[in-house]
């Protein structure tokens, strides 16, 4: 198994304070007084419509765009006082168009930053092989290929590997999976989640896809015009309690279903064991959304819940699923009722 990333550097704390970007000749700022405190190892999603300034905000962290005012620190260090190139070598950067270098082999693409940092040849080669394995591309097959010989999904994996090459504590990702087809996207997302579990980088991830934000993010910042933060909270809290109409609109229809997608079956109070009927059963680690899916197929009769060994450990029905959501909604609703 390619599970060994050599001692990954844990993430860094990123603090943005009153960060503003005004372009000359434009009336209002593109980003207006943006402040955020990102904990080490957090995966933060910036969600918002096109043109809301989410990408601009992200690109100020590696100074692809220079802030007009405000301060940004990474682990307490003011990034505006650093040499931009040295700063960028410590920040992984993945963009939607990927931007692989077509004239370089995959190995050369991945080793771009290590070469800038002056690593020796053996260390670079070992790192390239390690990273290709991490993103599930066989080094023997792919190291010497060129980007144009790879599919879109494979190219995007190389893009992620390249960003990880020098083991940066911070990663910036601008709609990295946006250009891939839905099936590839879902696969890349789950691989990426598994990777992040091991690496715990501090990641700022820009997307306009709220479902992607729910799926990946530790916390989601819903942004509106001029990169104003409408709500900044965990996916579950945003789905359960959208701060305002703007956020509700962004959450869209099916908020309850999206929340179910975040909760594993074992969080529900399971009912008594039932006989497995046909193939309809759910694993305890599946989401409640999967459980609901099975219930629709079972015609509403309780569905067996099995553990990883395939042994039946209980059953689940609609009421049990609703109860899980209810338990989460109830306290704030009650609080609203008895508020003095």
């Amino acid at each position: 198994m390619p599970e060994s990333l050599s001692r990954p550097a844990a993430g860094a704390r990123i603090v943005l304070k009153d960060v503003t970007k005004t372009y000359p000749g434009q009336a209002g700022p593109a980003v207006d007084s943006f402040s955020m405190d990102i904990a080490p190892g957090e995966l933060i999603m910036f969600v918002g419509p096109s043109g809301c300034g989410k990408t601009t905000t992200m690109k100020m962290i590696n100074r692809i765009i220079e802030p007009t005012s405000g301060s940004i620190t990474i682990d307490g260090e003011d990034i505006l006082s650093l040499n931009p190139n040295e700063l960028r070598r410590r920040i992984g950067y993945v963009i939607q168009q990927i931007g692989l270098f077509p004239h370089m082999s995959i190995a050369e693409n991945i080793s771009a930053v290590p070469r800038l940092l002056g690593w020796d040849r053996n260390k670079i080669q070992a790192r390239v092989e390690e990273l290709l394995s991490v993103v599930e591309l066989d080094p023997r097959t792919y190291a010497s290929r060129y980007p144009r010989q790879l599919s879109g999904g494979q190219q995007q994996r190389v893009g992620v590997a390249r960003a990880l090459a020098a083991d940066p504590p911070v990663m910036l990702m601008d709609e990295p999976f946006g250009a891939t087809d839905p099936i590839t996207r879902e696969k890349l997302q789950s691989e990426f989640l598994r990777l992040q579990e091991k690496l715990s980088k501090t990641i700022v991830f820009v997307t306009h896809d709220f479902d992607e934000a729910v799926r990946l993010g530790d916390r989601i910042a819903v942004l509106s015009e001029r990169s104003q933060i409408e709500q900044f909270d965990t996916p579950a809290n945003i789905l359960a309690n959208p701060a305002n109409d703007y956020v509700s609109q962004f959450v869209g229809h099916g908020a309850a279903l999206k929340r179910l997608g975040l909760i594993p079956v074992h969080q529900a109070a399971l009912g008594p064991n039932v006989a497995v009927r046909g193939a309809i059963e759910v694993n305890v680690n599946d989401s409640l959304r999967d459980a609901l899916d099975s219930l629709v197929l079972s015609g509403g009769t309780p569905v067996a819940v099995v553990n990883d060994q395939g042994r039946v450990v209980g059953s689940i029905d609609i009421e049990k699923i609703s109860a899980v959501l209810g338990a989460e909604i109830l306290p704030p609703a009650l609080a609203g009722g008895v508020r003095p």
């Binding site: 590696n62 692809i64 931009p84 190139n85 040295e86 700063l87 960028r88 070598r89 920040i91 950067y93 963009i95 939607q96 168009q97 990927i98 931007g99 692989l100 270098f101 077509p102 004239h103 370089m104 082999s105 771009a112 930053v113 800038l116 060129y146 980007p147 144009r148 390249r162 960003a163 910036l172």
Partner: protein, 221 residues
């Protein structure tokens, strides 16, 4: 045209083979030297102007206008400044070779996807490294096509450079044309002209090889 012409021509070739070889070599050298100068200057100008709309238009339009100056006139104008011989020839040739090289450098650099340049910058390459490691290598096949066009152009113009006492096969053409009616006039003109064509074809073939050797496998279609 009859048997006696061919036997005369054959005798001419054998008797003058050393002269012909020398002229051809000089012709090739003068073209290559001017091409080298034009490539360095042209790529340099292209690199400086490609991302600045006004400078870019000025450079391309300027080089385009330059190309419309009749070569005979330009070479004549160079005589008072540079005298006769190699110098005005090389300067004149390099001048004509500039346009295709500048234009193709600009086109080639503009074809590099912005996302590729941005990811180079984003990983901390800096502008100069991005230019030399990413943008120019990616633009190279297009730049090289410009150099190749310039090479063909220079081959022809170099023949006219005999007018300013320049070296090469042009001398033979001029000698033939100025002594029409004399015994070897036609032979001189033919050898000069065909020589230029053969050299041009050989150089063009060399460019195919150079392109193959200097273009990354990742860029070949």
């Amino acid at each position: 045209m009859n048997d006696s012409f061919f036997s005369d021509f054959g005798t001419f070739l054998t008797k003058r083979s050393a002269d012909i070889a020398e002229s051809a070599t000089q012709h090739l050298v003068v073209v290559l030297v001017s091409l080298l100068i034009a490539t360095v200057v042209g790529v340099g100008i292209g690199v400086l102007v490609w991302d600045k709309p006004i400078s870019r238009s000025v450079a391309i339009a300027g080089a385009g206008v330059g190309l419309t100056i009749p070569s005979m006139a330009l070479l004549a104008l160079l005589i008072p400044v540079l005298g006769l011989g190699w110098t005005p020839t090389i300067v004149g040739l390099a001048f004509y070779a500039l346009l295709p090289i500048i234009r193709n450098t600009v086109v080639g650099l503009r074809e590099v996807p912005p996302a590729v340049s941005e990811s180079a910058l984003g990983m901390g390459m800096g502008r100069v490294r991005t230019l030399f490691r990413v943008q120019l290598p990616m633009a190279w096949p297009v730049v090289l096509t410009g150099v190749r066009v310039s090479a063909q152009l220079s081959m022809g113009i170099a023949a006219i450079a005999a007018y300013v006492g320049g070296p090469g096969l042009g001398e033979m053409i001029f000698k033939g044309l100025s002594s029409l009616g004399s015994k070897n006039a036609l032979n001189f003109a033919i050898v000069g002209t065909v020589g230029v064509i053969v050299l041009a074809l050989l150089l063009d073939g060399a460019f195919v090889l150079i392109r193959r050797l200097t273009t990354s496998r990742g860029l070949r279609a």
